[in-house]
């Protein structure tokens, strides 16, 4: 059976069967290759979640704009 034929069958497996298959495959792949596969993945998080100084500057911009609008 070719990989092309196998992929649709794998897609139809349940989550638990996919996990079992993953574990089976993982035992057949050398550790070094597994580490390379997972370390090669990067998951960037773009949220500036603690940029309080930037937030304060933006709030000052908003306040300045509101004051200018009121004065005008």
């Amino acid at each position: 059976m070719s990989l092309t034929e196998l992929i649709p069958l794998v897609n139809n497996l349940s989550q638990s069967d996919k996990l079992s298959l993953f574990k089976l495959l993982a035992t057949q792949i050398p550790n070094a290759e597994l580490q390379f596969i997972f370390s090669a993945s990067e998951y960037p998080i773009w949220s500036p979640y603690d940029a309080t100084e930037a937030a304060n500057i933006l709030m000052q911009m908003i306040q300045d704009h509101q004051e200018a609008s009121t004065d005008g």
């Binding site: 960037p44 998080i45 773009w46 949220s47 500036p48 979640y49 603690d50 940029a51 309080t52 100084e53 930037a54 937030a55 500057i57 933006l58 709030m59 911009m61 908003i62 704009h65």
Partner: protein, 131 residues
């Protein structure tokens, strides 16, 4: 003018994004924006700012960001934002000198202007304009 608008939030959709229209001077751009409660500020990608006709060198307010954006230069920019049929609102963005970043609606000042209900069980995101 409506004060609430709803968008679909499908179960298989990984992230809460909504369609918005950004306006600056005489230009408008439609884009999908990420509702990001964990982001301190709104983030505008560089290319969208250029499409709006904003000029980078004219923006004098520099912003120090954090996380993956800490090394990217950012400048403050006001942009008019329309969400559905709600009244347009002026939001302050951190316009970043990078285009490979998402358009983010964050705490300052999107979540100061709008209440948001994430109702995944109802497959909807509800945006409510604050009084």
């Amino acid at each position: 003018m409506a004060s609430t608008v709803e968008f679909p939030f499908n179960d298989d959709q990984a992230l809460p994004t909504i369609p918005i229209i950004l306006s600056y001077a005489n230009s408008s751009v439609s884009a999908m924006a990420l509702l990001d409660t964990g982001s301190t500020v709104n983030v505008l990608p560089y290319d969208i700012g250029l499409q709006l006709g904003a000029i980078w060198d004219n923006q004098t307010v520099r912003l120090p960001l954090a996380g993956n954006l800490a090394k990217v230069e950012a400048r403050g920019l006001f942009v008019q934002v329309q969400i559905g049929n709600l009244e347009p609102v002026r939001l302050a963005f951190a316009w970043v000198e990078a285009s490979h970043v998402p358009l983010i609606l964050g705490q300052t000042n999107f979540f100061r202007e709008f209440d948001v209900c994430f109702e995944r069980s109802q497959s909807t995101i509800k945006i409510i304009r604050r009084d």
